[in-house]
Symmetry: C2
Subunit: 322 residues, 2 copies
């Protein structure tokens, strides 16, 4: 006999999570009740993954569970918030979803444990497969890093390497090839993006703006420029590319194109004032390379100039915000 | 040309809502940032409505918008929390959803304004129609009304009248008839349930348990009994029935059956200690009749006894929790 809704909730959602002292009531009442420490503000963000849009029927349930939480954690990183609790609404087509849930929650729990995030509530419905998560985190009052604070001459940084998730999608649809030894790396970058929580916390009081790159650098840096009423001068030679990208069988310009227009990387793009550059670059942020790719300019445009002074014009049109 | 995602968000989600001082950042960044006053705890609850499951393609978008928020507000009422902010993830099939959104947000905003609730974030995706809302409210630390606090001899109350939404569903599927003059009333009860926020606030420090009736009295009172490790002695003659229900062309037992097993009423069921009865019943709670329908007993069962001492056994099987 299939497990009842209440049995499923108990087994997969309630039992695996620790009782943290900031959770007065978790799953099992009309609402969860939590405590926000005095002096802290609450940051919250909601994201939905829909089958056929955000993942395919070939995506492993473990990866869907991992990524659903990762993209939400990434929003906390972009605000400089410490993630605490998550709520989840699952809409499932199966009559007996226990096997799917078992695998989905394996991926989800792996990341939840890593960041001590607890699942405190949600909803379970019958219907087309879709997952909505809301992440909640806290930060000292007034320290949230928004998109709107960058000023001319601020340096523009990105974390990690860009375009690997887009590279994976092109690989999966046979649009290009890479040496076999890089295949696992790029698929992992697509299916299990690592939220840059530690970097986000380190950026408090330093970054003037930040965003996570979910729609591609051009689109997301575009949001920063839009909100800051500014533009950017960028050098494509500085774009951080992975070894996998460097070894893809396409021209350099095509690699840049993937790096600046494809989404799903969940790296951070952020700006810091020039006088904070040295101090910031000395900080050790575990396992997180950062690269300066340009600077903020007053003119409200995005200008690309190579190290040798020649120009570059991305073909991609993700950037439409002014 | 259809409006872009960002235009839709600005027009329908961002502009219509006031900037309350407890919202530092609303829609438009990686996360919303809000303040919870010192001494308050945060209550939060998430609910999803799926097309074809929770509403039909004949349900007016205005009613879907109204009800999506109403069912979430109802969870705040059941905890004794004051609703403050809502986040919403919409998955929409249409290429150009502006007309649908205009109508949906009309219903949503009507209720949001009534309770000074502000829309602070969310997500917009393409896919099968579904709406996930999370409501956030606050309450003085330690005053949340849970399901687990009822004790033997506590009196069991319900607000409003029971079964009207179920009556509407039976009416729509031609399973019974009622005089025409009650038709608008019962459809309104199904499509625009009124969350019992004022009652929930009045129950702080008085009620030992509370729940909102979304799955029917038997199922939801069952959750209270389950969490409180107790049972209930109930009198079907005391069930509050609307004039519409009283005039339906079915036998009394069938009316009780609808009243105790059909969901979607969003009335509150709650318990109060006998010594608080007089004081509580003297309180004026605007536009919200309450009725005592029985009491909590030690034996973990649900027993129905009529005023004349005869028994009644509901046929419905919503109640499965022990």
């Amino acid at each position: 006999m299939p497990l009842s809704e209440f049995d499923l909730i108990r087994k997969y959602f309630q039992k695996p999570f620790k009782d943290y002292p900031d959770v007065r009531y978790g799953i099992g009442d009309d609402a969860a009740v939590v405590t926000v420490p005095s002096g802290m503000e609450l940051a919250l963000s909601m994201d939905t993954l829909v089958a056929g849009i955000h993942f395919t029927n070939r995506t492993a349930p473990e990866d869907i569970g991992y990524k659903a939480l990762a993209v939400n954690l990434s929003d906390m990183a972009a605000m400089g918030a410490e993630p605490r609790w998550v709520t989840m609404s699952l809409t499932l087509p199966e009559n007996d979803p226990a096997a799917w849930l078992e695998r989905f929650m394996t991926g989800f729990s792996l990341l939840a444990k890593k960041y001590s995030v607890s699942l405190i509530g949600g909803d379970l419905s019958r219907g087309p497969l879709s997952i909505t998560l809301q992440i909640h985190g806290w930060l000292p009052a007034g320290t949230a890093i928004t998109r709107g604070g960058s000023k001319p001459d601020d340096l523009i940084y990105v974390s990690g390497t860009l375009g690997d998730a887009g590279l994976a999608l092109k690989l999966l649809s046979d649009q290009l090839s890479i040496p076999d030894k890089y295949r696992a790396f790029v698929l992992d970058r697509l299916n299990r993006p690592g939220p840059r929580i530690d970097l986000g916390l380190a950026l408090r009081h330093i970054a003037t703006s930040a965003i996570d790159i979910s729609d591609g650098l051009i689109a997301d840096l575009g949001h920063i420029l839009d909100a800051s009423h500014a533009g950017a001068l960028l050098n494509p030679d500085k774009l951080p590319l992975s070894d996998a990208m460097r070894h893809a069988d396409v021209a350099d310009e095509e690699k840049w194109e993937i790096a600046v227009t494809s989404g799903d990387d969940y790296e951070l793009c952020f700006t810091i004032p020039p006088d904070k550059k040295t101090g910031f670059e000395k900080k050790q942020i575990s396992d997180c390379p950062i690269t300066c790719i340009g600077k903020i300019i007053r003119e409200q445009e995005m200008r690309w100039v190579r190290t040798d002074g020649s120009g570059y014009t991305p073909r991609g049109s993700g950037y439409k915000h002014f």
